[in-house]
Amino acid sequence: MSRAKRIMKEMQAVKDDPAANINLEFVSESDIHHLKGSFLGPPETPYQGGRFIVDIEVPMEYPFKPPKMKFDTKVYHPNISSVTGAICLDILKNAWSPVITLKSALISLQALLQSPEPNDPQDAEVAQHYLRDRESFNKTATLWTTLYAEGGEEVANPNVDEAALYGIDPTVVQEFVAQGFEKTKIVEVFRRMGLKNLDMNDNETVNKVVEELLR
């Protein structure tokens, strides 16, 4: 029964340290092995101002096996899947040690937002964006933070520009829309080809894009 005791103690530790601004609560009273944690986006990063919610599943063998964590909040980050919220972090896998707590794991996630490791990516598309054009990446990540992490709840916002959501230059998208292509399709093709920007005079690439669009 050491697991239950330990989880309760960890909850207490989180409550005892309000300065860390970390939140940890049970999803339901009846199941102490399923929790939600949340923390603030680190300052001076595109994630500043957001509160990120993490889904935590505590396995039977805890604390000798790592807890399963994934982001509920959508995050634009090289080591976090933009689709599922899965996290690529060594301490949640083979580098886990029983001395790590849920609190320290959440702090590690916070640190991960602070310093991405694009060379060991979870989301290749995002990682490429990060490596190729940091400024554009930061813009997109900030947009995601505003959209998904600030309200606390995920709202489907119909006014969000799809192109901006994936850091694609809206003017270029507009060019293709003018040619009569559907916007969703254009964004999809750009994402698939790993393009964020395009020089309309670069005929070779433009042709490739058109080819893909016509498929």
Binding site: S2, K5, R6
Partner: protein, 550 residues
């Protein structure tokens, strides 16, 4: 090539590939033996043989086999594919561990730190001595910290305790609050010099899982390493052995170029290839590196399958892959029972011999082709030949079904022989018992009983070669002359194997001693035919007549 009264394999000069084709012709066994050793020394020797072979009746064969002698080295060279260059040894995990300890002993004077610490370093460096020594001379102190031998200065070890001397080991605490399990109790605890102290239960939990991983186990909170001695203290007597054997397992996996596990179930042997530099050269000259472990399991070092000569590793893997893919379709066709061709009674084959006699109508037939046995017995065996002429006139629409049919045929042959080989092996067990029985009952000495074991071995090798020869035949160009010769050789071997197999179905053990020469003759003939088939298959491969296709 059907048999009239005479069966002849004549090589004509017009064939482009007739250099060094000398040794796989259907030679009479006597000449064959000499020829093998000759051809080994003069591989390029080109000579021509014009041999006529009578359809040997069993008696003739027995006579001609009387003075057969195959030189042991030539035999080994062909069946095991080993030239003196392939140096390997069979080890167990214990052997490897002892060697590791020896290497540690050897390094001890250079490092002058305790043996256990060197063991840790070697584990960290995957037993790469050179790299370790290089790093050791460059940055000894950092290395000692990194490897967790010394307490790291910038670790978050409990400050100040260092001087008080945290004692490494198990202690008893009256009231201890363990931060892992959050229980307060009087318990034994464990800590290393870093002072990170946890209750023994948590430590046991922590270590238990890690024992199977084979990596160095560290303190839960820092990089200080637990030594084998510590593990034994926590987990009880000799638990570190488990860690060591998992460590050796991962060592073998990492060095699988020259270390391989014996693929046989439950066999704990490890084959270590001593000289990897000549290995590529060896592969070029010989098809496959066959090795044999201490429990005399023989397998191919490259692909990990059983002895698959005359096929090479490529053919073998392609064949196995194909078999896996196709087997679902074919399995139902190749069920283990057959109906008697005459009275349709269901027959299960419970012995290795393909000469069947229906228990209900006494009809004698061949298990493979379901044809009457009579033509098989005295004449040359046609079962191994897939008749291409049959389908020649058919339209291209039937082409695919033809390939499938062709494959089905070869796959079935392969399977039949595999099944037979298994049954032969079972038969072998009974024969062994019979030999023992003989020893006790009629006072036959052990050495005199050996002819049975020898015969079994020959039978087994013959069957395996025969089995894999169908993989070769399937991938070979059927129109080529050499393929035809190969098929002829297949037939000869098939015949001799069935003969021997039948002989081994000993009905009355008392009379067995009288048949001793029979056994010797037939086993010898099987061995020679096996060698001929292997050699011929090798040439098919070498000349590119047999190529794996998907």
């Amino acid at each position: 090539m059907n048999s009239d009264e005479e069966y002849s394999l004549v090589y004509d000069d017009d064939d482009d590939d007739n250099d060094s084709l000398d040794f796989y012709e259907a030679l009479p066994a006597t000449e064959f033996a000499i020829n093998i050793s000759k051809s080994r020394s003069h591989l390029s020797q080109s000579s021509e043989f014009d041999i006529e072979e009578d359809p040997l009746s069993n008696d003739d064969m027995a006579e001609s086999m009387l003075d057969v002698h195959v030189s042991a080295s030539a035999k080994r060279a062909l069946t095991e594919g080993s030239v003196p260059d392939l140096k390997y040894e069979c080890l167990t995990t214990e052997d490897i561990f002892h060697r590791m300890l020896k290497r540690v002993d050897h390094l001890q004077p250079i490092f002058s730190i305790p043996h256990e610490d060197i063991l840790l370093l070697m584990q960290l460096y995957d037993w790469n001595e050179e790299r370790l020594l290089e790093d050791w001379t460059e940055k000894m102190d950092i290395l000692l910290e990194e490897s967790g031998i010394h307490v790291s200065h910038n670790s978050n070890g409990i400050e100040g305790n260092d001087k008080n001397g945290n004692i490494r080991g198990v202690k008893f605490q009256e009231s201890f609050n363990c931060i892992i399990c959050c229980e307060e109790k009087s318990t034994e605890t464990f800590s290393l010099e870093c002072g990170h102290e946890y209750c023994i239960d948590c430590y046991r939990h922590y270590i238990k899982d890690k024992l199977n991983k084979g990596n160095v186990i560290t303190c839960m909170d820092c990089s200080l390493a637990l030594k084998n001695d510590d593990i034994d203290k926590i987990m009880g007597h000799q638990s570190s052995n488990k860690l060591m054997s998992s460590s050796i397992k991962s060592f073998i996996q990492k060095h699988n170029n020259n270390y391989k596990w014996c693929p046989y179930t439950d066999c704990k042997c490890i084959i270590h290839l001593k000289d990897t530099s000549s290995f590529a050269e060896y592969l070029r000259v010989h098809c496959s590196p066959f090795v044999s472990c201490k429990s005399s399991h023989r397998f191919c070092f490259s692909c990990g399958f059983e002895i698959h000569s005359p096929a090479d590793c490529d053919i073998t893997t392609t064949w196995i892959k194909k078999a896996k893919k196709e087997s679902e379709n074919l399995n139902w066709v190749l069920s283990h029972t057959k109906e008697c061709p005459k009275c349709s009674v269901n027959i299960e084959k419970n012995g290795g011999c393909n000469h069947m006699a229906c228990s209900s109508c006494k009809y004698e037939f061949c298990w493979i082709c379901s044809g009457d046995w009579k033509p098989h017995g005295s004449n040359f065996y046609q079962c191994t030949m897939y008749n291409n002429e049959d389908s020649k006139s058919k339209t291209s629409v039937e082409d695919t079904s033809k390939t499938l049919k062709r494959y089905t045929f070869y796959y079935r042959m392969f399977n039949e022989h595999e099944a037979s080989a298994k049954l032969d092996w079972q038969l072998g067990q009974t024969v062994e018992n019979k030999v023992k029985h003989l020893q006790e009952k009629i006072g036959v000495s052990w050495i005199e009983g050996q002819f049975l074991t020898e015969s079994l071995r020959a039978l087994n090798e013959g069957r395996t070669a025969l089995k894999w020869s169908f993989a070769i035949a399937f991938y070979s160009d059927p129109s080529h002359n050499l393929t035809k010769i190969f098929v002829d050789n297949q037939m000869l071997l098939s015949n001799s194997v069935e003969d021997l197999s039948e002989l081994l179905q000993i009905k009355n053990p008392e009379k067995i001693m009288n048949k001793k020469t029979d056994f010797y003759n037939k086993a010898g003939y099987v061995t020679n035919r096996t060698l001929a088939l292997i050699q011929c298959g090798r040439d098919l491969l070498r000349k590119g007549i047999c190529k794996p296709t998907n």
